[in-house]
């Protein structure tokens, strides 16, 4: 069942067409990720769903309701963590949660939320003394206080160190485990791959691909990149010659003793190269095959480099 339906929404700011004809639907209990580079239209899309922006055209339905008729009801049943962690800096963790709890008809107990976002030990600390990761967790906690059916997380890990990022991932995975629907935006491909049930890739205001991470990667060609490191340059040059004669190889690059080989059938290419190496008495020092990632999906669909 769809808890969120976005159909053909568009939004322009002056001459900038931020979002163009975007449609998607989120299922109950899934983690749905909108990914795209900065300025792709992720936040604008999210803000239209959250009722902060009115779409120029198209329709948004949240839990079967629309913002025009049921704003109050929708607000009661969704949770939001905006991109800038907007908190009361001079209140403690506990006071922030208790205050937000008072805005809702029903809410989960404050200690339970503090436990979930792992801030119980810091509950009496003023927000302004918290670290970036702790603030971000509190912002997520505020979004969860009303026990929402859908939670929207707008770039929750941007600017955080790897450990803090993992802590946020843990929270998202916990939410999925208890059956919450999470709509997430990020510009970290790795994050989208790790957390999402489904991914929607947007670029320049348009959806360019939408599916499970696995299916998206599966749509790419079977081509893989093989990295080899040989003993010295001469050996690498010889191996380069051998690689070029292998029919599956599409591209070879050599840098000193290192080779980067693209192949449509990596296992056959590797077999050929290792055979060549043992025949000519060379030692291969390192071998690796790079798996395709969502980053390659983005590159394949847009023809652009991906930059974090």
């Amino acid at each position: 069942m769809h808890v969120l339906e976005v159909s053909r929404v568009s939004k322009s700011f002056g001459s900038v067409r931020a979002v163009q004809e975007v449609s998607f639907a989120a299922n109950r209990g899934e983690v749905f990720t909108i990914i795209g580079p900065n300025g792709a239209g992720k936040t604008t899309t999210l803000e239209m769903i959250e009722g902060l922006q009115r779409p120029d055209s198209g329709a948004v339905s949240v839990l079967g309701m629309t913002w025009d008729k049921d704003a109050e009801n929708i607000k009661m049943r969704i949770g939001v963590q905006p991109q800038s962690s907007a908190l009361f800096d001079l209140l403690t963790v506990e006071e922030n949660l208790a205050l937000f709890a008072s805005f809702y008809d029903r809410h989960r107990p404050v200690p339970e939320i503090m436990e979930l976002i792992n801030l119980t030990d810091h509950r009496r600390k003023l927000v302004k003394t918290l670290s970036g990761g702790q603030k971000q967790r509190l912002a997520i906690g505020l979004g969860l206080i009303n026990d929402p059916e859908i939670i929207f997380l707008d770039e929750p890990t941007t600017g955080l160190d790897p450990q803090a990022r993992r802590n946020i991932w843990d929270i998202v995975l916990k939410l999925r485990a208890i059956g919450k629907t999470t709509v997430l935006t990020t510009h970290y491909m790795e994050e989208a791959e790790q957390l999402s049930d489904r991914v929607c890739i947007i670029d320049q205001g348009r959806i360019i691909a939408m599916d499970t991470p696995k299916a998206l990667i599966g749509r790419l060609t079977q081509e893989r990149e093989i990295h080899l490191k040989l003993a010295d340059e001469a050996a690498a040059a010889a191996a380069e010659g051998a690689a070029r004669t292998e029919p599956n190889v599409t591209r070879v690059e050599r840098k000193g003793a290192q080779l980067r080989i693209r192949s449509g059938k990596p296992e056959a290419t590797l077999y050929h190269l290792l055979g060549f190496a043992s025949e000519s008495g060379q030692t291969v020092e390192q071998i690796s095959i790079r798996e395709m990632s969502l980053e390659n999906v983005f590159i394949a669909f847009t023809g652009k480099e991906w930059r974090d």
Binding site: K75, V80, P82, A86, L87, L90, S102, Y104
Partner: protein, 367 residues
Amino acid sequence: MAKNMKQLRMLFDAQIKETFRERQVWFWSIMFPVLLLVIFMIIFGGNSDFSAKVAIVGDKSGAAAEAFVQSAEATGVLKIEQDLDLQEAEKRLKDKRLDAVFVLPDSSETGDFGLLLNAEGQTSSTSQALGSIAGQLTAAANQAATGIAPAFDLKTEYVSASNNRLKVSDFLLSGVIALSIAQSGLFGMVGLVEIRRKGLLKRLKMTPVNMRLFGVANVGARFALSIVQVILLTLIGVVAFRANVDFSPLTFLLIFIVGTLAFSGLGYLISAASKTLESYMGISNLVSFIMMFLSGIFIDVNVLPGYLKPVSHVMPLTYFVDGIRGGMIYGSGMNADMWLNLAVLAAWGVVSFILATLLFRRRSASL
């Protein structure tokens, strides 16, 4: 209803904490007015006991000279050295061990009474006062010489509308109280600029919170701060500087409430008109400075040059300080003047509030 009350209580609680946990608030809204009060009290509010050290030299025989010396002793504000010769007296005057030297004429019948003053102090108020005292003493000597009593005499009394004699300290105390309430209204909306800048306002709009209650709680916190200011400043003024207060509770309360609201409205307008914290602080400072000097807080409005008086007549602080003085030290009832003060303040408040709301609407529409 019960839910709204709970929400209001939580919001008020939050605003109080945000206000009183902010060091800036303690400095600008509490420390600063206290310092201002203490400094002005020490400079202007102390006992205005004038005294000066003078020497009288020359021939002290003769009725006129005697009258001069007697009158000088009778002023009670002069410390008189009588046994110096002219040279010694001049020397001491140069060293500033004396404020002035009166030189009696050689002849007991006619001649000039001389007044010697130190040139460095020629513009000081002490020199001016000594000049006028010397004039009076000369008149007394003339009377003694001619035996004619003057037909007219000048009697000076300080009169105020209050039951007690109004002192400078009362004037300063009530002025600083009005100023500090006005300032916390003007600067107090800094929180509003901040929550907009940080995205907290947007965040709140994503919750079902009643934004009207948020506004009410905000104003409530303003009042709490103003009450602290009034109590603290009054205590310091009365206990440390013997200021007199003559409260008229109804007048004071009405002016206090309407004034606090009016200046909060003005702060709200400035916050609506400024995009950044810097521009908000800039505009607030400018407005506050202009009002501080043109509204009769420290400087009486009547001594302002004519072209500035109309400005003073539209300033809300002019009416606020007049109202606070009325309700706090003159014990005025709700007379016509007080109603005028209230009306002007209310007008400022209402107009600011409406303009601010329109500005906010326009801005959030173009978000």
